[in-house]
Protein backbone atom coordinates (compact mmCIF):
# COMPACT_ATOMS: atom_id res chain seq x y z
CA UNK A 1 0.00 0.00 0.00
CA UNK A 2 1.52 3.34 -1.08
CA UNK A 3 0.48 6.00 1.42
CA UNK A 4 -1.07 9.18 0.01
CA UNK A 5 1.21 11.17 2.28
CA UNK A 6 4.97 11.25 2.86
CA UNK A 7 6.81 9.65 5.75
CA UNK A 8 9.46 11.65 7.61
CA UNK A 9 11.69 9.69 9.95
CA UNK A 10 13.89 11.70 12.30
CA UNK A 11 16.62 10.06 14.37
CA UNK A 12 18.85 11.51 17.05
CA UNK A 13 20.14 11.01 20.54
CA UNK A 14 19.25 12.88 23.68
CA UNK A 15 21.11 16.06 22.69
CA UNK A 16 18.98 16.49 19.58
CA UNK A 17 15.72 17.20 21.37
CA UNK A 18 16.27 20.97 21.25
CA UNK A 19 16.72 20.78 17.46
CA UNK A 20 13.45 18.91 17.11
CA UNK A 21 11.68 21.44 19.31
CA UNK A 22 12.83 24.26 17.03
CA UNK A 23 11.56 22.32 14.02
CA UNK A 24 8.13 21.47 15.40
CA UNK A 25 6.43 24.88 14.99
CA UNK A 26 7.17 24.62 11.26
CA UNK A 27 5.31 21.31 10.92
CA UNK A 28 1.84 22.56 10.05
CA UNK A 29 -1.12 20.80 8.53
CA UNK A 30 -0.24 22.32 5.17
CA UNK A 31 2.36 19.56 4.94
CA UNK A 32 1.18 16.21 3.65
CA UNK A 33 3.30 14.14 6.01
CA UNK A 34 3.48 11.80 8.96
CA UNK A 35 6.49 12.13 11.29
CA UNK A 36 8.29 9.37 13.18
CA UNK A 37 10.85 10.19 15.89
CA UNK A 38 13.56 7.84 17.09
CA UNK A 39 15.41 9.14 20.14
CA UNK A 40 18.11 7.34 22.07
CA UNK A 41 17.08 7.91 25.67
CA UNK A 42 16.20 6.41 29.01
CA UNK A 43 12.82 4.85 29.63
CA UNK A 44 11.82 7.15 32.48
CA UNK A 45 11.97 10.20 30.20
CA UNK A 46 9.05 9.00 28.08
CA UNK A 47 6.07 10.91 29.40
CA UNK A 48 8.00 14.16 29.61
CA UNK A 49 9.10 13.81 26.00
CA UNK A 50 5.52 13.28 24.85
CA UNK A 51 4.23 16.33 26.70
CA UNK A 52 7.03 18.60 25.53
CA UNK A 53 6.45 17.68 21.90
CA UNK A 54 2.67 17.87 22.10
CA UNK A 55 2.85 21.40 23.50
CA UNK A 56 4.87 22.58 20.50
CA UNK A 57 2.99 20.95 17.67
CA UNK A 58 -0.19 21.12 15.58
CA UNK A 59 0.16 17.41 14.92
CA UNK A 60 -1.17 14.69 17.21
CA UNK A 61 1.74 13.28 19.21
CA UNK A 62 1.63 9.61 20.16
CA UNK A 63 4.07 7.15 21.65
CA UNK A 64 3.65 4.06 19.50
CA UNK A 65 1.86 0.97 20.76
CA UNK A 66 2.12 -2.26 18.81
CA UNK A 67 0.08 -2.30 15.55
CA UNK A 68 -0.92 1.37 15.75
CA UNK A 69 -1.89 2.82 12.35
CA UNK A 70 0.42 5.27 10.60
CA UNK A 71 -1.62 8.38 9.83
CA UNK A 72 -1.14 11.81 8.32
CA UNK A 73 -0.48 14.78 10.62
CA UNK A 74 0.73 12.63 13.47
CA UNK A 75 4.09 12.57 15.23
CA UNK A 76 4.94 9.09 16.43
CA UNK A 77 7.59 8.50 19.09
CA UNK A 78 9.40 5.18 19.24
CA UNK A 79 8.96 3.80 22.78
CA UNK A 80 12.13 3.32 24.84
CA UNK A 81 13.60 -0.18 24.78
CA UNK A 82 11.81 -1.32 21.59
CA UNK A 83 12.84 -1.22 17.96
CA UNK A 84 10.18 0.40 15.79
CA UNK A 85 9.33 -1.09 12.39
CA UNK A 86 6.96 0.07 9.66
CA UNK A 87 4.66 -2.39 7.93
CA UNK A 88 3.51 -2.03 4.32
CA UNK A 89 -0.12 -2.04 5.49
CA UNK A 90 0.55 1.29 7.24
CA UNK A 91 0.86 -0.04 10.77
CA UNK A 92 3.78 -0.19 13.21
CA UNK A 93 5.35 -3.30 14.67
CA UNK A 94 7.49 -3.28 17.79
CA UNK A 95 10.46 -5.55 18.33
CA UNK A 96 12.51 -6.20 21.49
CA UNK A 97 15.32 -8.12 19.79
CA UNK A 98 19.01 -7.41 20.41
CA UNK A 99 20.28 -3.85 20.49
CA UNK A 100 21.71 -2.52 17.24
CA UNK A 101 24.63 -0.05 17.50
CA UNK A 102 24.22 -0.42 21.28
CA UNK A 103 20.78 1.13 20.85
CA UNK A 104 17.15 0.11 21.23
CA UNK A 105 15.37 1.79 19.58
CA UNK A 106 17.95 1.85 16.81
CA UNK A 107 17.70 4.57 14.18
CA UNK A 108 19.12 2.24 11.54
CA UNK A 109 16.39 -0.32 12.17
CA UNK A 110 13.57 2.19 11.66
CA UNK A 111 15.24 3.92 8.69
CA UNK A 112 15.77 0.57 6.95
CA UNK A 113 12.27 -0.57 7.68
CA UNK A 114 10.73 2.70 6.42
CA UNK A 115 12.83 2.47 3.27
CA UNK A 116 11.76 -1.09 2.60
CA UNK A 117 8.07 -0.38 3.21
CA UNK A 118 7.59 3.03 1.63
CA UNK A 119 10.56 3.71 -0.69
CA UNK A 120 10.27 7.06 -2.46
CA UNK A 121 7.78 8.43 0.07
CA UNK A 122 10.40 8.48 2.81
CA UNK A 123 12.64 11.30 4.00
CA UNK A 124 15.21 10.49 6.67
CA UNK A 125 16.72 13.20 8.88
CA UNK A 126 19.69 12.41 11.10
CA UNK A 127 20.43 14.78 13.98
CA UNK A 128 23.04 15.19 16.68
CA UNK A 129 24.42 12.09 18.34
CA UNK A 130 27.44 10.28 19.63
CA UNK A 131 27.48 7.00 17.73
CA UNK A 132 27.15 5.85 14.14
CA UNK A 133 23.56 4.67 14.45
CA UNK A 134 21.54 6.00 11.51
CA UNK A 135 24.14 6.13 8.75
CA UNK A 136 23.44 2.65 7.35
CA UNK A 137 19.73 3.41 7.54
CA UNK A 138 20.11 6.67 5.60
CA UNK A 139 21.92 4.73 2.93
CA UNK A 140 18.99 2.31 2.72
CA UNK A 141 16.50 5.17 2.37
CA UNK A 142 18.55 6.58 -0.50
CA UNK A 143 18.85 3.20 -2.18
CA UNK A 144 15.06 2.78 -2.11
CA UNK A 145 14.47 6.15 -3.75
CA UNK A 146 13.84 8.29 -0.68
CA UNK A 147 15.60 11.54 0.29
CA UNK A 148 18.08 12.07 3.10
CA UNK A 149 18.91 15.09 5.21
CA UNK A 150 21.46 15.59 7.95
CA UNK A 151 21.81 18.25 10.62
CA UNK A 152 24.82 20.41 9.87
CA UNK A 153 27.48 18.87 12.14
CA UNK A 154 28.77 22.38 12.95
CA UNK A 155 25.44 23.17 14.66
CA UNK A 156 24.99 19.79 16.36
CA UNK A 157 25.54 19.45 20.11
CA UNK A 158 27.34 16.20 19.41
CA UNK A 159 28.60 16.09 15.86
CA UNK A 160 29.85 12.51 15.52
CA UNK A 161 26.63 11.00 14.16
CA UNK A 162 25.81 13.64 11.50
CA UNK A 163 29.50 13.94 10.59
CA UNK A 164 29.63 10.20 9.86
CA UNK A 165 26.71 10.62 7.47
CA UNK A 166 28.20 13.65 5.72
CA UNK A 167 31.53 11.88 5.28
CA UNK A 168 30.08 8.68 3.92
CA UNK A 169 26.93 9.58 1.95
CA UNK A 170 25.65 11.95 -0.71
CA UNK A 171 23.19 14.07 1.25
CA UNK A 172 20.14 15.75 -0.30
CA UNK A 173 20.04 18.51 2.28
CA UNK A 174 22.29 19.76 5.06
CA UNK A 175 19.90 21.21 7.60
CA UNK A 176 21.03 24.48 9.20
CA UNK A 177 19.17 27.11 11.23
CA UNK A 178 18.56 29.05 8.01
CA UNK A 179 17.14 26.61 5.46
CA UNK A 180 14.11 25.14 7.18
CA UNK A 181 11.96 26.11 4.16
CA UNK A 182 14.13 23.89 1.98
CA UNK A 183 13.66 21.04 4.39
CA UNK A 184 9.88 21.50 4.39
CA UNK A 185 9.86 21.49 0.60
CA UNK A 186 11.93 18.33 0.60
CA UNK A 187 9.64 16.39 2.94
CA UNK A 188 6.50 17.68 1.21
CA UNK A 189 7.65 16.84 -2.35
CA UNK A 190 5.15 15.17 -4.66
Amino acid sequence: MRPDFNIVVIGGSAGSLSRVLRLLPHLTKKLNISVILIFHRREDEDSVLHDVLAYKSEFIVKEVEDKDSIMRHHIYIAPADYHLLLEKNLTFSLDISEKVNFSRPSIDVTFESAADAFGESVTGLLLSGANADGVVGLEAIRKHGGKIAVQDPRSAEVSYMPQQAVDRLAIDLLLTEFNIEDFLNLVNRK
Binding site: V64, E65, D66, K67, P79, Y82, H83, L85, L86, E87, K88, T91, S93, L94, D95, I96, S97, E98, V100, D108, V109, E112, S113, D116, A117, V136
Partner: protein
Amino acid sequence: MSADLNLTDEQIAIILSDLIEHYGYDFTNYSAASLKRRIQRLLTMDKVVSFAEFRHRIQRDADYFKRFVEQVTVNVTEMFRDAHFYRTLREQVIPELATRPLIRIWHAGCSTGEEVYSMAILLQEANLLHKSLLYATDINPAVLEKVRLGMFPMSQMKQYSENYIHSGGRNDFSKYYIAQYDTAKFDESFKSRIILATHNLVSDTSFNEFQLILCRNVMIYFDKELQDRALELFDNSLEKLGFLALGSKETLKFSSVMSRYKQLDNKEKIWRKVS
Protein backbone atom coordinates in the same frame (compact mmCIF):
# COMPACT_ATOMS: atom_id res chain seq x y z
CA MET B 1 22.26 -5.18 8.58
CA SER B 2 24.31 -4.75 5.45
CA ALA B 3 23.66 -8.21 4.00
CA ASP B 4 24.76 -8.42 0.40
CA LEU B 5 21.82 -10.69 -0.25
CA ASN B 6 18.46 -9.00 0.15
CA LEU B 7 15.42 -11.23 -0.23
CA THR B 8 12.33 -9.86 -1.96
CA ASP B 9 8.91 -10.21 -0.37
CA GLU B 10 8.12 -12.89 -2.96
CA GLN B 11 11.21 -14.91 -2.01
CA ILE B 12 10.29 -14.69 1.65
CA ALA B 13 6.78 -15.90 0.82
CA ILE B 14 8.34 -18.92 -0.94
CA ILE B 15 10.47 -19.75 2.11
CA LEU B 16 7.44 -19.45 4.38
CA SER B 17 5.39 -21.80 2.26
CA ASP B 18 8.31 -24.28 2.20
CA LEU B 19 8.34 -24.21 6.00
CA ILE B 20 4.66 -25.13 6.13
CA GLU B 21 5.07 -27.89 3.57
CA HIS B 22 8.21 -29.48 5.02
CA TYR B 23 7.91 -28.85 8.74
CA GLY B 24 4.34 -27.78 9.49
CA TYR B 25 5.47 -24.42 10.92
CA ASP B 26 3.40 -21.49 9.72
CA PHE B 27 5.05 -18.05 9.94
CA THR B 28 2.81 -16.39 7.35
CA ASN B 29 0.91 -14.31 9.89
CA TYR B 30 4.00 -12.99 11.63
CA SER B 31 4.61 -9.22 11.40
CA ALA B 32 6.15 -8.94 7.94
CA ALA B 33 8.68 -6.23 8.73
CA SER B 34 10.17 -7.83 11.83
CA LEU B 35 10.17 -11.31 10.29
CA LYS B 36 12.00 -10.01 7.23
CA ARG B 37 14.53 -8.28 9.44
CA ARG B 38 15.18 -11.49 11.42
CA ILE B 39 15.60 -13.51 8.22
CA GLN B 40 18.01 -10.92 6.79
CA ARG B 41 19.94 -11.07 10.04
CA LEU B 42 20.24 -14.85 9.69
CA LEU B 43 21.44 -14.51 6.08
CA THR B 44 24.15 -12.12 7.20
CA MET B 45 25.25 -14.25 10.14
CA ASP B 46 25.42 -17.39 8.02
CA LYS B 47 26.98 -15.60 5.04
CA VAL B 48 24.31 -16.95 2.71
CA VAL B 49 25.10 -15.89 -0.85
CA SER B 50 22.02 -16.88 -2.81
CA PHE B 51 18.31 -17.38 -2.35
CA ALA B 52 18.56 -20.81 -3.99
CA GLU B 53 21.21 -21.93 -1.47
CA PHE B 54 19.13 -20.69 1.45
CA ARG B 55 15.95 -22.35 0.20
CA HIS B 56 17.67 -25.63 -0.53
CA ARG B 57 19.27 -25.72 2.89
CA ILE B 58 16.01 -25.09 4.71
CA GLN B 59 14.20 -27.71 2.66
CA ARG B 60 16.82 -30.45 3.03
CA ASP B 61 18.48 -29.88 6.38
CA ALA B 62 16.27 -30.35 9.45
CA ASP B 63 19.06 -29.07 11.70
CA TYR B 64 19.21 -25.88 9.72
CA PHE B 65 15.47 -25.52 10.08
CA LYS B 66 15.98 -25.75 13.85
CA ARG B 67 18.55 -23.00 13.59
CA PHE B 68 16.08 -20.95 11.56
CA VAL B 69 13.45 -21.20 14.31
CA GLU B 70 15.99 -20.40 17.02
CA GLN B 71 17.35 -17.34 15.24
CA VAL B 72 14.18 -15.94 13.71
CA THR B 73 12.13 -16.06 16.88
CA VAL B 74 13.24 -13.45 19.38
CA ASN B 75 14.60 -14.57 22.73
CA VAL B 76 15.47 -11.36 24.49
CA THR B 77 14.05 -11.32 28.02
CA GLU B 78 15.08 -10.40 31.55
CA MET B 79 14.06 -11.02 35.14
CA PHE B 80 11.57 -8.55 36.60
CA ARG B 81 11.54 -6.56 33.33
CA ASP B 82 9.27 -3.51 33.96
CA ALA B 83 9.49 -3.55 37.74
CA HIS B 84 6.17 -1.69 38.12
CA PHE B 85 4.45 -4.54 36.30
CA TYR B 86 5.77 -7.05 38.87
CA ARG B 87 4.79 -4.71 41.68
CA THR B 88 1.22 -4.84 40.38
CA LEU B 89 1.36 -8.63 40.21
CA ARG B 90 2.54 -8.68 43.82
CA GLU B 91 0.00 -6.22 45.13
CA GLN B 92 -3.12 -6.79 43.03
CA VAL B 93 -3.01 -10.12 41.24
CA ILE B 94 -1.34 -12.62 43.54
CA PRO B 95 -3.59 -11.78 46.53
CA GLU B 96 -6.59 -12.61 44.32
CA LEU B 97 -5.09 -16.00 43.46
CA ALA B 98 -4.15 -16.85 47.04
CA THR B 99 -7.48 -18.41 48.00
CA ARG B 100 -7.40 -21.01 45.23
CA PRO B 101 -6.51 -24.57 46.22
CA LEU B 102 -4.29 -24.85 43.14
CA ILE B 103 -2.90 -21.92 41.17
CA ARG B 104 -2.23 -22.52 37.49
CA ILE B 105 -0.21 -19.94 35.54
CA TRP B 106 0.71 -20.06 31.86
CA HIS B 107 3.77 -18.28 30.49
CA ALA B 108 3.02 -18.35 26.75
CA GLY B 109 6.17 -17.76 24.72
CA CYS B 110 8.36 -18.05 27.82
CA SER B 111 11.66 -17.85 25.92
CA THR B 112 14.61 -18.68 28.20
CA GLY B 113 12.48 -18.46 31.33
CA GLU B 114 13.60 -15.33 33.16
CA GLU B 115 9.96 -14.31 33.61
CA VAL B 116 8.97 -17.76 34.84
CA TYR B 117 11.59 -17.69 37.58
CA SER B 118 10.60 -14.13 38.49
CA MET B 119 7.04 -15.32 38.96
CA ALA B 120 8.19 -18.29 41.02
CA ILE B 121 10.03 -15.88 43.32
CA LEU B 122 6.89 -13.76 43.75
CA LEU B 123 4.86 -16.86 44.60
CA GLN B 124 7.49 -18.09 47.03
CA GLU B 125 7.46 -14.75 48.82
CA ALA B 126 3.66 -14.89 49.06
CA ASN B 127 4.03 -18.40 50.45
CA LEU B 128 2.02 -19.82 47.52
CA LEU B 129 4.64 -21.60 45.46
CA HIS B 130 3.90 -25.02 47.00
CA LYS B 131 0.38 -24.93 45.55
CA SER B 132 1.22 -23.32 42.22
CA LEU B 133 2.06 -24.77 38.84
CA LEU B 134 3.84 -22.63 36.24
CA TYR B 135 3.34 -23.86 32.70
CA ALA B 136 6.13 -22.53 30.50
CA THR B 137 5.67 -22.98 26.76
CA ASP B 138 7.52 -21.81 23.68
CA ILE B 139 7.63 -22.62 19.98
CA ASN B 140 11.40 -23.13 20.25
CA PRO B 141 12.50 -26.34 22.05
CA ALA B 142 16.06 -25.05 22.49
CA VAL B 143 14.98 -22.29 24.89
CA LEU B 144 12.91 -24.70 27.01
CA GLU B 145 16.07 -26.59 27.83
CA LYS B 146 17.44 -23.35 29.27
CA VAL B 147 14.31 -22.88 31.38
CA ARG B 148 14.79 -26.41 32.69
CA LEU B 149 18.36 -25.69 33.73
CA GLY B 150 17.40 -22.48 35.53
CA MET B 151 20.83 -21.01 34.88
CA PHE B 152 21.29 -17.39 33.86
CA PRO B 153 24.41 -15.32 33.23
CA MET B 154 25.98 -14.02 36.43
CA SER B 155 26.69 -10.76 34.60
CA GLN B 156 22.95 -10.01 34.59
CA MET B 157 22.38 -10.44 38.31
CA LYS B 158 23.19 -6.88 39.31
CA GLN B 159 20.52 -5.56 36.92
CA TYR B 160 18.02 -8.25 37.94
CA SER B 161 18.62 -7.54 41.59
CA GLU B 162 17.85 -3.84 41.01
CA ASN B 163 14.70 -4.76 39.04
CA TYR B 164 13.69 -7.08 41.89
CA ILE B 165 14.06 -4.35 44.51
CA HIS B 166 12.05 -1.91 42.37
CA SER B 167 9.31 -4.51 42.06
CA GLY B 168 8.91 -4.43 45.84
CA GLY B 169 11.24 -7.32 46.68
CA ARG B 170 12.57 -7.17 50.23
CA ASN B 171 15.07 -9.99 50.31
CA ASP B 172 18.66 -10.19 49.30
CA PHE B 173 18.18 -11.32 45.69
CA SER B 174 21.30 -13.47 45.83
CA LYS B 175 19.62 -15.88 48.23
CA TYR B 176 17.65 -17.30 45.28
CA TYR B 177 20.64 -18.58 43.33
CA ILE B 178 24.02 -20.17 43.71
CA ALA B 179 26.89 -18.56 41.84
CA GLN B 180 28.83 -21.07 39.75
CA TYR B 181 31.62 -19.30 37.89
CA ASP B 182 29.79 -17.09 35.38
CA THR B 183 26.34 -18.58 35.93
CA ALA B 184 23.68 -18.09 38.55
CA LYS B 185 21.86 -21.36 39.19
CA PHE B 186 18.38 -20.81 40.57
CA ASP B 187 17.01 -22.82 43.45
CA GLU B 188 15.81 -26.39 42.74
CA SER B 189 12.57 -25.74 44.61
CA PHE B 190 11.45 -23.49 41.73
CA LYS B 191 12.07 -26.14 39.11
CA SER B 192 9.70 -28.62 40.69
CA ARG B 193 6.79 -26.23 40.14
CA ILE B 194 7.58 -25.52 36.46
CA ILE B 195 6.08 -27.62 33.66
CA LEU B 196 7.67 -27.28 30.22
CA ALA B 197 6.12 -27.94 26.83
CA THR B 198 6.56 -26.82 23.25
CA HIS B 199 3.46 -24.98 22.12
CA ASN B 200 2.88 -23.03 18.94
CA LEU B 201 0.40 -20.18 19.31
CA VAL B 202 -0.22 -20.35 15.55
CA SER B 203 -1.43 -23.93 15.38
CA ASP B 204 -1.85 -25.50 18.84
CA THR B 205 -4.98 -25.35 20.96
CA SER B 206 -5.90 -24.74 24.56
CA PHE B 207 -4.54 -27.43 26.92
CA ASN B 208 -5.70 -26.38 30.37
CA GLU B 209 -7.53 -23.71 32.33
CA PHE B 210 -5.55 -21.02 34.11
CA GLN B 211 -6.03 -18.20 36.59
CA LEU B 212 -3.25 -16.12 35.09
CA ILE B 213 -1.78 -16.08 31.58
CA LEU B 214 1.29 -14.02 30.73
CA CYS B 215 2.21 -13.38 27.12
CA ARG B 216 4.46 -10.35 27.08
CA ASN B 217 6.23 -9.08 23.99
CA VAL B 218 5.39 -12.24 22.07
CA MET B 219 2.40 -11.12 20.02
CA ILE B 220 4.26 -8.02 18.81
CA TYR B 221 5.74 -10.44 16.24
CA PHE B 222 2.26 -11.40 14.98
CA ASP B 223 -0.02 -9.55 12.59
CA LYS B 224 -3.46 -8.43 13.77
CA GLU B 225 -5.20 -11.57 12.54
CA LEU B 226 -2.83 -13.92 14.37
CA GLN B 227 -2.96 -11.73 17.48
CA ASP B 228 -6.72 -12.18 17.52
CA ARG B 229 -6.34 -15.93 17.15
CA ALA B 230 -3.90 -16.09 20.05
CA LEU B 231 -6.16 -13.90 22.19
CA GLU B 232 -9.12 -16.22 21.50
CA LEU B 233 -6.92 -19.11 22.57
CA PHE B 234 -6.02 -17.33 25.81
CA ASP B 235 -9.66 -16.46 26.36
CA ASN B 236 -10.56 -20.15 26.02
CA SER B 237 -7.82 -21.05 28.48
CA LEU B 238 -8.65 -18.51 31.18
CA GLU B 239 -11.07 -18.99 34.07
CA LYS B 240 -13.68 -16.39 34.72
CA LEU B 241 -12.07 -13.62 36.83
CA GLY B 242 -8.68 -14.81 35.63
CA PHE B 243 -5.95 -12.36 34.57
CA LEU B 244 -4.26 -11.82 31.21
CA ALA B 245 -0.95 -9.92 31.17
CA LEU B 246 0.59 -8.41 28.03
CA GLY B 247 3.74 -6.41 27.28
CA SER B 248 3.99 -2.72 28.15
CA LYS B 249 3.22 -1.54 24.58
CA GLU B 250 0.54 -4.10 23.76
CA THR B 251 -3.20 -3.79 24.17
CA LEU B 252 -6.47 -5.72 24.13
CA LYS B 253 -8.15 -2.65 22.70
CA PHE B 254 -9.61 -3.28 19.22
CA SER B 255 -9.32 -7.05 19.72
CA SER B 256 -12.19 -9.50 19.35
CA VAL B 257 -12.16 -10.50 23.04
CA MET B 258 -11.99 -6.97 24.46
CA SER B 259 -15.64 -6.76 25.54
CA ARG B 260 -15.13 -9.54 28.10
CA TYR B 261 -12.15 -7.90 29.80
CA LYS B 262 -11.48 -5.00 32.11
CA GLN B 263 -8.04 -3.42 32.50
CA LEU B 264 -6.69 -2.89 36.02
CA ASP B 265 -7.28 0.64 37.28
CA ASN B 266 -3.60 1.55 37.43
CA LYS B 267 -3.39 1.06 33.60
CA GLU B 268 -0.78 -1.66 33.92
CA LYS B 269 -1.15 -4.05 30.96
CA ILE B 270 -3.14 -6.59 32.93
CA TRP B 271 -6.76 -7.38 32.13
CA ARG B 272 -9.32 -9.30 34.16
CA LYS B 273 -11.85 -11.57 32.49
CA VAL B 274 -15.14 -10.22 33.77
CA SER B 275 -17.63 -12.24 31.72
